[in-house]
């Protein structure tokens, strides 16, 4: 059930959103042939008689695809069917070489799942109706009156994750898509790249008057290649549909494409003459029988998922909900955080350093999160932890730490080495600090008088002067303590 605690309404209407996410599984070969699935191959290089539907060619299921689907299904909270069946979806289109797409129909591999995520601080649950396997089609390139077809994508494995229509705002929809992406990346079955189309979100949107039980006519939105556009496209579509209804226009069942340049949706094809796909079980592929031992094996390979991880961060490490959500969205990031936290024994500082300082600089180096725990990352978890430890041990101040941190991106030395070679070790010698403070107090009698008259804000002047004198290395806690004592004498 949807645990939406807050009703979201638009001008007296409620929006109802269901989403189909096409997850491209990153197996090395295609779903029914040994063809490679590389993204950057030359035109029609990744093809064979099977993937171009040559007369006589037959599909043979790639077992890795089944394993990936089981893993993704389990991570999405689905039940894995003991027996699932591939069916043919019959329709004519030039990029479909066989005249049918091999998909799953009434017996999909995964069904009855659920995902949970937060929107504006509220927990939302969305049920997943089913997740079924299918083959991708080729790609058409239109050139004047001609169309050229590249079949490299033909037969690339897809897992289509279908939600129940139980989202009610663009934000919920976008967050749902992010959650699906995060999960399929966690279980390492999809790279989640929206720009390259390895994750495609088709959103079914309808509106109805508040209180109305019957669903309105739904419109399918396609061509959405970022989560931000999921929000914008749905927002536009909700308003467009309400405008239409208010103007006594009928909503027609159709597919609309999102145009991100103009931030609007435009009609692609109507579905009024509902196409009859004449599904029937594909006689070339025997039913897929999945043993429970395989499900157990796949289960054992699933890492702790974002939701459970975030809960652990909040409860065990006292990390804020928002930070926990950000840190767990990606498995590499979560692992990096956990390593820094463990090595420095300070998870809170690790979270704040990673989210506030580290990621900003990291992305500027045009690195991706996949490189986070690799040698490509100059600021390893070990070094970041070391830096945090240096602060916590009092070796350097937080301010100096930020300077050292900047150096760490280009300097091959460890933070300890940077601190010592640049003489940045914090001055914590009470005698030495006291000497400097006495001298500054002596040379600034008017500021001393101001302080004594109750204008205690002037203390900042003294701290500034002391830090200038010590080049920022004086231990701020000791400075504070001695200065307050001396000024009160």
């Amino acid at each position: 059930m949807s645990t939406n605690t807050e009703n979201i309404f638009y001008r007296g209407y409620e929006a109802v959103i269901g989403i189909e996410v096409h997850v491209q599984l990153k197996t090395q070969s295609k779903i029914f042939s040994a063809d490679s699935t590389t993204f950057d191959a030359g035109d029609n290089e990744n093809t064979s008689p099977v993937s171009v539907g040559m007369p006589g060619a037959l599909p043979v299921i790639n077992k890795a695809v089944i394993n990936y689907a089981i893993k993704a299904g389990l991570a999405l909270g689905c039940k894995i069917r003991e027996k699932s069946v591939f069916s043919r979806k019959n329709y004519f289109y030039p990029d479909l070489p066989k005249g049918y797409q091999i998909s799953q129909y009434d017996e999909p591999i995964c069904e009855h799942g659920e995902v949970e995520f937060d929107v504006n601080g509220k927990t939302k649950k969305v049920r997943i109706t089913r997740a079924h396997l299918e083959e991708d089609a080729g790609k058409s390139n239109h050139l004047g009156q001609y169309t050229l077809i590249n079949y490299n994508r033909s037969g690339v494995p897809l897992l289509e994750v279908v939600s129940e229509p139980e989202m009610h705002s663009p934000q919920e929809a976008a967050e749902y898509c992010r959650t699906i992406r995060s999960i399929v990346r966690y279980v390492n079955v999809c790279d989640g790249n929206l720009e390259e189309g390895s994750l495609r979100c088709d959103c079914n949107v309808s509106v109805r008057k508040i209180g109305e039980k019957k669903l309105g006519t739904k419109v399918e939105l396609k061509n959405i290649n970022s989560f931000r556009f999921v929000e914008k496209a749905i927002e536009f579509e909700i308003q467009r549909q309400i405008d239409a209804i208010d103007n006594n226009e009928k909503i027609i069942q159709e597919t609309r494409l999102y145009d991100s340049d103009k931030n609007r949706t435009v009609s692609m094809r109507t579905k009024e003459n509902a196409q009859d796909y004449r599904y029937f079980p594909d006689p070339d592929i025997l039913p897929i029988i999945i043993e429970s031992s395989l499900i157990q094996k796949m289960k054992s390979e699933i890492p702790e998922l974002p939701l459970a991880r975030a809960k652990k961060y909040i409860e065990a490490y006292a990390i804020s909900k928002d930070e926990a959500r950000q840190l767990t969205e990606d498995l590499e990031l979560a692992s990096f955080f956990e390593k820094v936290g463990k090595l420095s024994s300070d998870y809170k500082a690790a979270a704040s350093w990673i989210l506030v300082e580290f990621l900003k600089d990291y992305f500027e180096k045009s690195l991706t999160l996949n490189d986070l725990n690799s040698l490509k990352n100059p600021v390893s978890a070990e070094r970041l932890a070391e830096l945090i430890s240096l602060i916590n041990k009092g070796t350097i101040s937080g301010k100096i730490a930020k300077k050292v941190f900047k150096d760490m991106w280009t300097n091959a030395k460890s933070p300890t080495e940077i601190v010592s070679s640049q003489g940045l070790v914090q001055v914590s010698d009470v005698g030495e600090i006291e000497k400097i403070i006495s001298q500054i107090i002596a040379t600034n009698p008017s500021q001393v008088a101001e302080y004594k008259s109750g204008k205690t804000k002037v203390i900042a002047f003294f701290i500034g002067a002391i830090m200038k004198e010590t080049k920022g290395k004086a231990n701020p806690n000791i400075v504070n303590e001695i200065l307050t004592r001396k000024l009160s004498e």
């Binding site: 008689p49 171009v52 539907g53 040559m54 007369p55 006589g56 060619a57 037959l58 599909p59 043979v60 299921i61 043919r88 019959n90 004519f92 289109y93 030039p94 070489p97 066989k98 005249g99 049918y100 009156q145 001609y146 077809i149 009859d276 004449r278 599904y279 029937f280 594909d282 006689p283 070339d284 592929i285 025997l286």
Partner: protein, 491 residues
């Protein structure tokens, strides 16, 4: 040395003893094809590489290398199987110019056994038909009487084999397409168990029914061919991992104690004409004399076999033939201007011009059966009854080893006599379709001659993967066959 009547074993011995070369053997048959094929129209393509293939085999023998089980044997292949770099038309205008870049697994296995591929053989378009009259390239004729059909769909294979234009052929059988023409032309034809032979590279008609098999001159040649073409194939997920036996060496002609069944529903059919019944009953008598026990079984669901067959095969065909739309495969209409053409008009023109009448009839029937609202009543119901049929056969085979029946209701009929009556044509398949629906192995063995001197076969059916039993009973019957020493008119 009687090259014309060589069995595979005799040809192998002659080759190994250097009494003849593969090249001489192939030349002998090329000459026959050149001389005789014009009367029959059995070959759609005669391959120019045949002599080169033969030379390669001769060189292997000269070098003392091991050669394959069927080295140097000239084979014709039904033009439904892909042979690399040879036209593969399925006897359709649609695939007139299709030259596959790969070999069907059956062809690959034959080549590995050093068989010589002589060319491609005529058939009904996309294997849809029982008379070979549905070929885009013209009817093939029955060598026993060229006014008569050779049967179908593997009519070219049956005719070429009966007239000995080759030493062996491959056909395919979806509802009787090996057994019926084998019966009409007097050759030995086997449809193996579904899953025995890979379907990879065979232009699909009805995927859950299609199976390739040998159409040859003797039971032993059939057994040898089976040994070569059977076996699991990584390219066909429906192929079985059952081990392939040495069928030819295990042939046992003693039927003593074997239980041979007549099936009540077929035995009592009033569709059977008198020539057919005579041949069928003489086969029963022979088996009795040879010591077999004749029992009766009943498979009531066979009553619905033809209906089920046409629903299921047409449904699958409507989907399998969707790829012939003029985009990547199939005939493309001579469009003057593509720019003002809708996609539907494009497909419609290509498919209207490219497919023949019978194929269109089945595509329309199949499309209808799979349509929403009709699927449950037709395709789904047929699939459920199919399961019952299979179960009833399972029960029947608890009581017998092999079922004996007629192959067809009549001997070969005259060309043109049934083309205007598709339903009557479909009834040709009344005894053969059950075998495919239940996935069983079936066989036609030449056993008699009609009063018009047309050959008549008897059908043997066994339980799944019991091809050896078929071969054993057939080998026993072969000895007593009344057509054994008869030759067709065109020979």
């Amino acid at each position: 040395m009687d090259i014309l009547n060589f069995s595979f074993t005799e040809a192998q011995a002659a080759l190994k003893n250097k009494k003849i070369s593969a090249k001489e053997m192939v030349q002998f048959y090329l000459n026959r094809i050149e001389k005789i094929n014009p009367q029959l129209n059995a070959f759609l393509h005669i391959d120019q590489s045949a002599l080169k293939q033969a030379e390669a085999v001769d060189q292997k023998i000269a070098r003392g290398e091991n050669v394959g089980l069927l080295a140097g044997i000239p084979f014709g292949i039904k033009d439904l199987l892909c042979v690399k770099n040879m036209p593969t038309t399925a006897a359709s205008k649609m695939l007139k110019n299709f030259v596959p870049p790969y070999d069907a697994t059956v062809v690959k296995k034959l080549k590995m056994a050093d068989v010589i591929i002589m060319g491609k053989l005529n058939l009904d378009e996309f294997a849809m038909g029982s008379s070979n009259e549905n070929s885009h390239f013209g009817s093939c004729k029955n060598p026993w009487n060229t006014d008569y059909v050779p049967g179908g769909s593997s009519g070219g294979s049956a005719a070429a084999q009966a007239a000995r234009l080759v030493m062996g052929t491959i056909g395919t059988d979806t509802g009787g397409s090996i057994r019926q023409p084998s019966s009409f032309c007097g050759v030995v034809g086997i449809k193996p168990t579904y899953g025995r032979v890979s379907r990879y590279g065979i232009v699909a008609f009805a995927s859950s029914l299609d199976q390739a098999g040998p159409m040859v001159s003797s039971v032993k040649d059939a057994a040898l061919t089976l040994e070569v073409i059977c076996g699991q194939d990584a390219n066909d997920g429906t192929s079985s991992n059952k081990p392939v036996e040495d069928f030819s060496q295990k042939i046992n002609t003693s039927v003593k104690g074997l239980k041979i069944a007549v099936m009540k529903e077929f035995h009592n059919s009033d569709l059977i004409d008198s020539d057919i019944r005579k041949t069928y009953e003489s086969a029963i008598d022979s088996l009795k004399k040879l010591g077999a026990e004749i029992v009766e079984v009943s498979v009531p669901m066979t009553k619905y076999a033809v209906s089920m067959y046409y629903l299921i095969s047409a449904s699958e065909a409507s989907s399998n033939l969707a790829r012939y739309d003029g985009v990547k495969y199939g005939h493309r209409s001579d469009f003057k201007d593509l720019s003002s053409l809708s996609l539907d008009e494009f497909y419609s023109a290509n498919r209207s011009e490219g497919f023949g009448k019978e194929v269109k009839r089945r595509i329309i029937l199949g499309t209808f059966c799979l349509s929403s609202g009709y699927f449950d009543a037709y395709y789904k119901k047929a699939s459920q009854v199919r399961r019952l049929l299979k179960n009833q056969f399972d029960d029947a085979f608890k009581k017998c080893d092999v079922i004996l029946s007629p192959v067809t209701t009549t001997p070969a009929f005259k060309i043109g006599s049934r083309v205007y009556d598709p339903l009557r044509m479909y009834l040709n398949d009344v005894f053969t379709t059950s075998t495919n629906l239940a996935g069983l192995p079936g066989m036609s063995l030449p056993y008699g001659l009609s009063k018009d001197r047309l050959p008549i076969g008897v059908q043997l059916t066994a339980h799944h993967f019991q091809e050896q039993k078929l071969l054993n009973v057939a080998a026993a019957l072969e000895e007593t066959s009344l057509v054994k020493n008869e030759k067709p008119h065109v020979y």
